[in-house]
Symmetry: C2
Subunit: 406 residues, 2 copies
């Protein structure tokens, strides 16, 4: 397998460090818009000659396709911002390469009834091309990070081995991460967090299909394992709700993000004040003359860069899938989860926990594809494949998953 | 009396409309950095030839002094932002004119113990020049809006006519104003509100003197009159606490602002995110190139301009002074207050309530100075003068004050 990894930010760099310890691939070309980021990622691997650095603009389909051809890559691993999903997705098919990403093409709210009906859904643009990928016998494995990704694998595992009938599948994400020296320091891009949390959340129900709600709807307190404890969770738009119902039967599918009461209030305040806006406002510039800036960019500029906070961060992050249904006629409820302790990921890989947890899953998936354990054609989610080999290989990577019953 | 009014914003414009109905002055020159604002204010007075518009930069002392001379003005009324207090204060003395403002020179927190000790206090820079004003026989009447201003007059009145001994004087400000069509629309400049509320609040105690506390300290629920009702109030840095103890004996002097729980939480969130900062952050500009902007300016730009909200505003605003002490050996407690209903001020003057309430008091004070009822030299607060003539004249202006006993 020869991989083109596009994106050498936090997650891309963690992918190189995880992959460097495995031998399932022959080459990994690391490409970024900022060539020096790609070079730094490769330089940190101390002479592993399978890695090479390149510069590429992810929005330039032709340049990406040419890069795939020049390095004879047979798979494109997308570790960029969701804005670049479509050009990279198209470039892979143009070059006849398989494609894997960790977030799907973006949604657009319903123009009239945004908090009741879906407009363009997450992944719609990708699924619209599914027939083309199938016809060409090419695999696009979409949403293959931790959430979406491992959370979808958990859903498949529950359906295959743990339940006869499933009432509800609820992905639940929570953490107890704190950052020394900061009152408020999100562990993930605030720009993206605002985008996720203020978009209308999507829910799926059998018979009704997909629909949306008001932001922050259906709050619940979820008790996360391994000492993280209780965190307030609310509905958030997320890929799992679009993926799971395509391959797994369940009466209801939700995604709730454990933002915690304080963070939810902060996002609501930003929204109430219009500071989440991306369309510009006019303010005095450095010389007193007016300049137009995006309020959301200003919010991001006031906060520390989460990728730089690993050394000051403490605590654990948990991704998981809660499932309720019946087994042998009796009610059953399980939470399948994966916890990463920041202290461990920093010591082992020099990567903060949230970034490392996102990065390990696409590497595991690539190894299964390389080995032929996961095979298929078309645009497929992680739940389209057998879960057991994935979960076993994740454990072999030194990062076991867990299950809480009841 | 010939008045130079500097500042033709909301308050300055209201001053012209209130003054136009009185005959104690011969001329009022309305000057603003934005000449068109001054012209609009004058144009709205339908040919009252006592008014004239000028353009002036309030930070340019020499230009302001020259303008005073050119129009033979004997008093400068400052209706600008507190940043311009010192240049205008100095310009008046240079030109041999009396001076009146509604906010005093700015404070600077104590460099090491900001929430325990005062650094530079509100008005310190002005009081430092008191001897010069006295020597020249010139009057600077400072803090002569509604709060500070009328609130200080109430304190004087309580000491003169209502109490033998005063335990505590607590200025309390609250409102039930709402704005149609906005979830969040402060009725006063958010820039100034942030400045007031996030500076360390100051308290005065006999024996201990002035000291500071953490922002939002000593929360209490105060019941405001005339249907406004209970509002959560917290300590805020305000001029009254610096003025009242210089002329009125009381064991304790505080200022609490009825911000309400939601507004307090909003300000705390802005502070936690660093969005209250005035030092610039760097963000992408319109052409993608980085520009430096002040986060607090961006917050202000996201919110509607409070001066334009009068038509959509409903409710009342209350300024007042709560006093506890003894009279004839018995305990006594009173709240002296002044309420303005936005519907009334819009109908009568086309000015929103908070702005009109600020503007009426300096006009009443000027009339007392013109009549010789208020006379003196030096840097003096409103409580340095007899209260009764002020309160009677305010009632004559059609805006009576009230007193709640017990």
């Amino acid at each position: 397998m020869r991989v083109l990894l596009v994106g050498a930010g936090g997650v891309g760099t963690a992918i190189t460090r995880i992959a460097a310890r495995r031998d399932f691939f022959e080459a990994m070309v690391v490409a970024d818009y900022d060539g020096s980021r790609a070079e730094s990622a490769v330089a940190a691997l101390a002479g592993d000659r399978r890695f090479a650095a390149e510069r590429v603009d992810a929005s330039d389909e032709a340049a990406v396709a040419a890069l795939l051809g020049r390095h004879r890559c047979d798979v494109l691993l997308n570790a960029t911002d969701p804005r670049f999903v479509m050009p990279l997705f198209r470039a892979a098919r143009t070059a006849g390469a398989r494609y894997l990403d960790m977030a799907m093409s973006l949604s657009r709210p319903h123009p009239e009834r945004p908090y009741e009906e879906c407009g363009v859904r997450l992944g719609d643009e990708q699924f619209a091309q599914a027939a083309d990928w199938e016809r060409e016998g090419l695999l696009a494995l979409v949403g293959m990070g931790v959430e979406p990704g491992l959370s979808d694998v958990f859903a498949r595992h529950a359906a295959d081995e743990l339940f006869d009938e499933i009432e509800e599948i609820g992905v639940r994400d929570g953490a107890n991460l704190t950052v020394d020296g900061y009152d408020f320091a999100p562990s993930f891009s605030i720009w993206t967090t605002i985008e996720e949390c203020l978009n209308p959340p999507v829910v799926h129900e059998a018979g009704r299909g997909w629909f949306t709600t008001e932001p922050f709807s259906e709050p619940e307190v979820f008790d996360f394992p391994e000492g993280i404890g209780k965190v307030e969770c609310v509905n958030v738009e997320h890929e799992e709700v679009l993926l799971i119902p395509r391959w797994v039967d369940a009466r209801r599918v939700t995604f709730k993000y454990g933002l915690g009461g304080e963070f939810i209030d902060t996002l609501k305040t930003l929204h109430r004040l219009g500071l989440d806006r991306t369309d510009p406002v006019t303010v005095p510039g450095p010389d007193g003359r007016p300049v137009a800036v995006s309020p959301r960019d200003v919010v991001a500029a006031c906060l520390p860069d989460p990728a730089t906070l690993g050394e000051r961060m403490h605590g654990k992050t948990c991704a998981g899938t809660w499932v309720r249904g019946t087994r042998d006629g009796a009610p059953r409820e399980v939470y399948l989860y994966h916890v990463v302790d920041n202290q461990w990921s920093m010591a082992e890989y020099g990567c903060q926990a949230v970034v490392w947890q996102t990065a390990v899953n696409p590497v595991v998936a690539l190894e299964l594809v390389a080995a032929g354990a996961w095979t298929g054609a078309g645009v497929l989610g992680p739940e389209a494949f057998p879960a057991r080999p994935f979960l076993d290989l994740l454990t072999e990577y030194g990062s076991p998953w867990g299950m809480r019953e009841g």
